[in-house]
Symmetry: C2
Subunit: 154 residues, 2 copies
DNA sequence: TCCAAAGTGGACATTGACATCCTATTTCCC
DNA sequence: GGGAAATAGGATGTCAATGTCCACTTTGGA
C-alpha cells in the first residue's frame, strides 16, 4: 500500500528527529533504520530537494532536519517522495462526470482523504513523544541495546 | 496508492452489479469500464477464484456476480486481487518490538486500518443506490448516452 | 455434426519501482 | 596542499506489476 520509498523516507526522518539536532551521516541512518545505504542516499536527496532536510558535504558532514519536529508532519515526508494522488476527476474520462465523481470513485477518494488527513495531523514531535514501550525504530532502551544515539557517542 | 489491478477489479464488479443479474461478457465489461480486455480477463479470473463471480464458457456465456450486492463489500473485491497488507509486526525486525509497533508504524497501520474499515463498511448495493448525478462508471442517463445496459439490449 | 462465441491458461513483452555502483565534488584536518 | 570523509548524481542492473497474445476448451445453435 505504501511504497518502499515512503517507508524508508519516514524511517530516515524519524531517526533523524530522534537524534536531532546534531544530525547524522547517511551511513549512521542506514545502520539504524536498516535501509540499504545506496537507496537511502537517493531518498535523502529527495528530502533535501523538498527542503525537509539540509546536508553538508565533506568530512564531518551529514544530514539534519531543516524544521522543528513540531512543524514537520508525516504528510510532508510522504508528499516529498511519493505524493498521495487524490482522485479529483473521473478516471474513465466520462464527460458527464466532470467535477462529481461516481459513487465508486468518490468512496475511493474518501479513503485517500482519510489517509491524507491522518498524516497531516501527525507531527514528528507527536511520534517522538508518544508514550509507549517501543522507542521509534530502536530497541527499547531498558534492554540497553545499541541504538542510533550510541553511534555518535564515543 | 491503489494498484491498477484493484481499480480494474472494482470497476468490473460495479459494472457487473449494475447490469446484474443477467451477467455480461468480458468484452462488454471491457468496453463499459474502459479496461483493456486481455488484462480484464486476468482480473476476472482472480475474482472467479475468490468466488466473487461465476463464469460460463461457450456461446451465450459470460460472467456474473456470485453474491447479492448487499453481501459484497469493496473490501471483498480488494482482498480478492490485491489484499491490504496491515503492518502487524515491526518491519525492522527489532525483537523488542514484538507485538507492539513503534509509534511510526503504529500510525501507518492505523491509516491502513482506516481504509480497511471504510471498505468493509461499503457494499456494492450502497454504491449502486447512492443518490448522485453520476451513475457508477456510466455517462449520466439524462444525456441518453450509451451505457452498459444498452449493450445487452438489441 | 460443425461452427462461432466465449472463457481458460500459459507464454511473452513492456514498464516503472527498487536497488546498486561508480565517479565527481565538497569539506575538514593534518 | 593533500588525503580522508562525506554527499551528489548519473549509469546500470533486477524484478514484480502491467499489459498483450495465442492455442485450447467449452458450449449453444444452425
Amino acid at each position: 500500500m505504501f511504497s518502499r520509498t515512503v517507508e524508508y523516507a519516514l524511517r530516515a526522518i524519524v531517526q533523524l528527529a530522534y537524534m536531532a539536532p546534531q544530525g547524522a551521516t547517511t551511513g549512521q541512518i542506514s545502520v539504524a533504520t536498516k535501509v540499504p545505504e545506496p537507496y537511502l542516499r537517493k531518498v535523502l536527496q529527495a528530502l533535501r530537494r523538498a527542503e525537509l532536510v539540509t546536508s553538508q558535504r565533506g568530512a564531518s558532514g551529514g544530514v539534519r532536519l531543516n524544521r522543528d519536529a513540531e512543524e514537520l508532519t508525516i504528510l510532508d515526508v510522504v508528499n516529498a517522495v511519493d505524493p498521495i494522488e487524490r482522485i479529483d476527476r473521473c478516471p474513465l474520462d466520462l464527460k458527464s462526470h466532470g467535477v462529481r465523481l461516481c459513487p465508486l470513485h468518490a468512496r475511493m477518494d474518501r479513503a485517500l482523504q482519510g489517509i491524507e488527513q491522518a498524516f497531516r495531523e501527525t507531527t514528528l514531535a507527536e511520534i517522538l513523544a508518544e508514550p509507549t514501550l517501543s522507542t521509534p525504530l530502536c530497541e527499547t532502551p531498558d534492554e540497553h541495546v545499541s541504538c542510533t544515539r550510541d553511534v555518535t557517542s564515543p
